[in-house]
């Protein structure tokens, strides 16, 4: 077992060369918890952006008091969800899909920069183990290790101001924390736009969203993977 784990994956497993003997099958890729996590997070981010804009005077659709209440409670709930999601990622080993990798990065970047305008096919073929293309993996890795921690970190420090307001220069630090929180919040908003836009590339928007709703997606399975699933995890195979 330990021997095989050191063997580098075959190119098709990294999603870039067509797999000669693979079968395209519809397989459960996003289990129920992951979908719940995704949509709760999406809804939470929308509420957080809406209430955040309200607190900053961009709209008056709800009172400042209500905006603060919603923003605080939703943020705390989302943090709790992230605790569960992190636990789930770690225990299931799914965290590995977010590991950034260089192989194929250039091809995908080149596709978005040129190929897409020439009607080329997306160079990445999803596999059972690698549902994210290298660019996606890098983007999500950055989101999870830099952007999100910055936004919830500053948010918690901001929220708990009254516990540290006696520190020297507390108003200065509060201003810094608030500004970083605002800056990163705008970047998250940019991510959301990019995320939704990329769903329109390579397939229809509806096709892009569907897997995150029903959980299944068509991926290339090696005969071995197919045999394993047929034998042990038939619940993951739809057709």
């Amino acid at each position: 077992m330990t021997d095989t784990s050191h063997k580098p994956p075959a190119p098709f497993e990294r999603g870039l060369t067509p797999c000669p003997d693979c079968a395209e099958r519809e397989v459960l890729i996003y289990p129920r918890f992951e979908r719940l996590w995704h949509w709760s997070q999406a809804g939470s981010i929308v509420i957080l952006m809406f209430t955040g804009l309200g607190m900053n005077g961009w709209h008056n659709l709800l009172s400042f008091e209500m905006a603060v209440r919603l923003h605080t409670l939703v943020a705390l709930a989302l943090l709790l969800l992230w605790v569960f999601a992190t636990f789930w990622l770690m225990t299931t080993g799914n965290w590995k899909v977010f590991l950034p990798r260089v192989f194929g990065l250039f091809a995908v970047a080149r596709y978005y920069a040129f190929g897409v305008f020439k009607g080329e096919h997306h160079p990445y073929q999803k596999s059972l183990a690698q549902r994210l293309n290298p660019l996606q993996a890098m983007a999500y890795a950055a989101l999870k290790t830099v952007v999100f921690p910055l936004v919830w970190g500053t948010g918690l420090v901001y929220l708990t101001y009254n516990f540290w307001e006696t520190l020297p220069n507390a108003p200065f630090w509060l201003e810094l924390v608030a500004n970083v929180h605002l800056a990163v919040a705008w970047i998250v908003a940019g991510f959301v736009i990019l995320h939704i836009y990329l769903l329109t590339i390579g397939h229809s928007f509806r096709e892009g969203v569907r897997p995150m709703i029903v959980g299944t997606e068509t991926v290339a399975l090696t005969p071995e993977q197919e045999a394993y699933l047929e034998r042990h995890e038939t619940w993951r195979l739809v057709d």
């Binding site: 900053n56 400042f64 605080t72 409670l73 009607g119 101001y161 705008w186 940019g190 736009i193 329109t200």
Partner: protein
């Protein structure tokens, strides 16, 4: 157990019924006085008093220490040594931006002294014990009053005006003496509601509306609310009252005190409401409780002052006083009608131009309780606005909170040779110097300076002034308190304050701008990509995917 419970309920019902019957029976019986003394039965008070001091003499025959107690109070001395600055303040010393000063105007100003016959500010109040006026605070007959220009004496004939500006009536001193009790709001109000020469002129949050306020005007004093009198909060000890405008409890970390203790030493909100008065188990309540160390209760809970239909004077320009009409008569104009329908003067030849305000949004400032007065021995800069009193405090001193103030805008006389605030003699129907009689500033100021014992260069001018009055009365019901956004917004109520960061007040701060720039670049990239896809028809909606 169950049977016992039912039995207990039945028993309780019977006891309750008996109690109700008992209460009904008691209603029919004569009321028992709360006090152990019915003053109308005292033989000392069975006489027709000829003057206020005669009544006081009768009072002191039993209450032997009362006059001594009163004589140690600010109410009597009109002098206050600031414990923090050492300044000698009090009505007998300071100059304000209303009628200016007491010196040389005594019988008019000391009409509200809690005594009789103080006619010279350069001397202490009269020494006799009988010069103390007991009735002004303790009369409950409602018909005791003081004349407006008789150094504190009550009207004994129906001539002149009273301290509230009403036509005087003959006061029945015997009836007043027999009625005495704890001070009610009418007692305090007859002077404190009329400071500065009229109803609500001076404070802004103390007006005749507080005799019978609606809960919306004052949730504590309203008969439909808590029905507090002034002394419910302003506790007294040996005739000295809690709650000083010269030395304010801007912050009260002691709160309600130790369990079981009822604090009687301060008039702060916290002494009843504690230091965490908002509902703790909610985001809003927790956040509001986080505010109390930085924001005074009054700031949110008194959204505006001069509510309930009586305006307060917000501007007074003495420099325009003295205008006469074609016939040589003093001009007067009534250009403001306040909420209760009463027309108010906006110009008087005797006093100059006035501005009035109702439902006034306060001026806000960091305040640690210390007020520094510009006394008449200080050199002022007449090119700017002179602050008659300066509110001390900062966000960094650890003992300040944001407080609401009435900011009085004045223009008043100063000694332009020595650059000092000037005293002026305005009242004096029979004198040659009083401005209200002869309209001559040079004589009025010279006489004022002389009476106050101040050096005078002989030259005078007028200078713009600001004077600050802490706002603490007219607390609104909780639902009428300020909303968060009144302050947490660009150009909110606290926009004039600095030295701290307030969430929501700067949506375009550097952090937001940096984030928005990145966001804009990402959005622009998406739009550019879309346009290029549409032009090249390359990635048209993924239909090429097979």
């Amino acid at each position: 157990m169950r049977g016992y419970g039912i039995g207990a309920v039945g028993l309780a019902a019977i006891i309750g019924l008996c109690g109700a019957l008992g209460a009904a029976a008691q209603d029919a019986a004569p009321q028992i006085s709360e006090s152990t003394t019915d003053h109308s039965k005292l033989k000392e008070l069975q006489k027709d008093f000829a003057s206020g001091p005669e009544v006081t003499e009768a009072c002191l025959s039993c209450h032997t220490e009362a006059a001594t107690q009163v004589k140690h109070s600010v109410h009597w001395k009109w002098e206050f040594e600031s414990p923090s600055t050492g300044q000698i303040l009090g009505k007998s010393n300071v100059v304000n931006s209303f009628c200016g000063n007491v010196a040389s105007n005594e019988p008019r100003c000391t009409s509200c002294h809690t005594g009789y016959g103080w006619t010279d500010m350069s001397e202490p109040p009269p020494a006799e014990a009988t010069a103390v006026d007991c009735l002004v605070c303790h009369d409950t007959s409602g018909q005791y009053t003081k004349l407006d220009s008789a150094a504190g004496h009550p009207p004994l004939e129906a001539k002149g005006k009273t301290i509230t500006g009403a036509d005087a009536w003959v006061v029945d001193l015997k009836k007043a003496a027999q009625s005495v009790g704890q001070p009610g709001r009418e007692n305090c109000g007859s002077c404190h509601f009329y400071g500065g020469g009229g109803d609500n002129v001076k404070h802004g949050d103390l007006s005749s509306v507080l005799y019978h306020p609606s809960p919306e005007v004052d949730v504590h004093m309203s008969p439909d609310g808590e029905n507090f009198t002034c002394s419910t909060c302003h506790h007294s000890d040996k005739h000295i009252f809690a709650g000083s405008r010269y030395d304010v409890h801007a912050m009260d970390p002691e709160g309600t005190g130790k369990p079981g203790q009822v604090r009687q030493d301060v008039a702060t909100c916290e002494s009843c409401h504690g230091n965490a008065p908002h509902k703790a188990l909610s985001v809003t309540g927790t956040k509001l409780n986080d505010h109390v160390d930085r924001v005074a209760c009054q700031t949110c809970h008194i959204p505006s002052f001069a509510r309930g239909g009586v305006a307060t004077k917000t501007g007074w320009d003495w420099s325009t006083a003295g205008r006469m009409d074609a016939a040589g008569k003093p001009v007067h104009e009534e250009g403001y009608v306040q909420g209760d329908g009463k027309a108010l003067h906006t110009y008087l030849a005797t006093k100059g131009d006035f501005e009035w305000g109702e439902n006034v949004v306060p001026h806000y400032a960091w305040f640690n309780g210390q007020v520094n007065y510009t006394t008449t021995d200080e050199v002022i800069d007449p090119t700017g606005v002179v602050e008659i009193n300066r509110i001390d405090g900062s966000p960094d001193d650890g003992r300040s909170r944001i407080w609401p103030f009435k900011r009085m805008e004045g223009r008043q006389a100063y000694d332009s040779g020595l650059n000092k605030l000037a005293y002026s003699n305005v009242w004096g129907p029979t004198t040659d110097t009083a401005f209200w009689t002869n309209f001559d500033w040079s004589k009025a100021i010279e006489a004022g300076m002389k009476a106050a014992g101040a050096e005078y260069s002989g030259q005078y001018g007028f200078v713009d002034t600001h004077m600050y009055w802490p706002i603490t009365h007219m607390v609104a019901p909780a639902e009428n308190a300020l909303a968060c956004r009144d302050c947490h917004a660009e150009n909110g109520r606290l926009a004039g304050l600095s030295g701290f960061y307030m969430p929501g007040s700067r949506p375009l701060s550097w952090g937001a701008l940096a984030g928005m720039l990145v966001f804009a670049m990402m959005a622009a990239g998406v739009m550019l990509h879309t346009v290029l896809r549409l032009i090249t028809r390359g990635g048209k909606g993924g239909t090429t995917h097979d």
